[in-house]
Symmetry: none
Subunit: 187 residues, 4 copies
């Protein structure tokens, strides 16, 4: 019963999330195949890592598309809904492809795609700011970055079992949108 390329990638990301410096031998073992076979599927380690990165970017892109962040001319209400959907989607990305968010790669292709997705995300955030959905006194680039940071925190908290998986999205949204300050504080 041959192990498919997809199954190998699944095993690889699971293992690399647990120990990011895992060797090809360890990944192969985790996938239940020999080192040589792993190399038949991915000619080099970089090849494998790039493929994992590609999958993560695919997933991220899908999250953006499914949320519909490119839909122009939307009103505040729509934008708010889109924003929620986007974050929800990205929580999923973080949970499944966590480690590749920070992967060091030299692949031009991945860097370019990643930059493009960031650009789209940034444009969306700026649209939200113009529409009064998000604060305008914070640089859009920082708002974008803060999502990334909170996703890192989320992944870590989930990994440690400190928060319930079903709570993940709510906590993420609350912290991102409203912050930790008590409401009385704002009055």
């Amino acid at each position: 019963m041959a192990v498919s390329r997809e199954q190998i990638l699944d095993a690889a990301i699971r293992h690399l999330n647990a120990s990011p410096t895992a060797s090809m031998a360890q990944i192969a073992e985790a996938a239940g195949i020999s080192r040589a076979t792993l190399h038949r599927h991915f000619s080099s380690r970089d090849d494998l890592v790039v493929e994992l990165g590609r999958r993560a970017l695919d997933r991220w892109e899908r999250a953006q598309d499914e949320a519909g962040i490119a839909e122009t001319g939307a009103g505040p209400a729509d934008l708010r809904a889109t924003l929620m959907a986007l974050i929800e989607g990205e929580v999923g990305v973080a949970e499944e492809h966590g480690f590749t968010l920070t992967v060091e790669t030299t692949s031009e292709e991945l860097l370019a795609r990643s930059a493009e997705l960031e650009r789209r995300e940034l444009a969306f955030i700026e649209a939200c700011q113009r529409a009064g959905v998000l604060r305008s006194d914070l640089p859009a680039v920082w708002v974008s970055s803060s999502i990334y940071g909170l996703l890192v925190a989320l992944r870590e908290s989930l990994r440690r079992g400190e928060i319930a998986p079903r709570e993940a999205t709510r906590l993420m949204v609350e912290s991102f949108l409203r912050g930790a300050s008590d409401k009385g504080d704002l009055s």
Copy 2:
């Protein structure tokens, strides 16, 4: 022109922040000394990493102490000021000792100290929640984690030069306390 232990550590952290898997040879070169000399100061790689971790924890502890998070019986106003001071201090830690926040170590000592500092931080956050300074509908452990995540984002944004260093603390505090949502959104 002898290179002091402290200078080596400074060079090491600078280099390791840039590339966390740097070899001893690369670290040595970055410090302007030979591999062998680096080994004279830190008998093993782990030794060096543990020392860096110790420094980061020292700095973190100092941030907690200087903010005064252990001062019990403080009123809401005091707690708010302390919280601000704490975050400000931690921004400094993230800027200078960034990478070690996520360092994987086997050192019992470091793990124990780290756990203790987390515990103190958590207790402080809970105090803030009881005093109505921070929201109570978010688990304290998640609030703590979100600080960590935002610090990661901050470090990354600074590294990329996307935000002005002088803005760092303000952005951090705003995102953490009030979130990215426009105020009109809350009304």
Copy 3:
């Protein structure tokens, strides 16, 4: 043309007998393989040395067993024959596994086995003394040690080509049993 584990061990002992501090690189070269391949067979230097020690102890144990030193209740004649067979067997061990006789190891297993074989040998020597086959005015432990010493001498003489291999056993037995003094000396 794969080199078997056994062949590597043979090459290793040959080389280590000649230069006991030989590096893994030298041993690998002597075995006609690369350093990395040597490490595939023996994960560490200690592993290799322990394996060599094990082989030597196996051989020694076989020498004891084949001589039949454990046969209790034997008469003087039998004991004398057994003693001769034992020494003969040990000459073989010294010739083939010489260096490991003095190898420094940390392996509990080897130390324990070695101690056990020494104990058996000692018990046999004591039996020979009780039966009047060996002198009783020399401590058994010294008699045992003197065998060891003469084997070292034998190996050295053979290595230098000073004595004929076919003479080895005779010289060993003569020196051990009767000493170098002229018989007239004893009258």
Copy 4:
């Protein structure tokens, strides 16, 4: 209170006897001086080892001279006394300079001197054989070698504390001259 060259050599041989692969650092520590100082006395490791070898050869030569093995024209009784004195002297050499007996050196000087002393010893043994003091049916070179082997055994037994130091010479002489066989065996 400066440590004299002689004291360093004493410490060195003591330490090297215990662990023959000791590093310069360990030897220096054993001598109570720094590595650099050790190097001021002996410019290289080989230098130190050669010096130790020289001392051992000096001691051996003295043993030969004091026993008087070069005295030609001696009768059997004299030869026997000389032989005893020689062995007694060599026991002392083994006790004090043990390890250097097997030291690997490239020093031409030492090899030449060692060969010369062996030659003298061999000539003496042959003289003993001709005079009927030692058996003639064993090659002189093997008789010589057996002395060496028994000295190794003696050193080992002493190191392990298996025999009493005061017994050393007697055991050595008995084993060398008369062997381990019970006298009844010879009748």
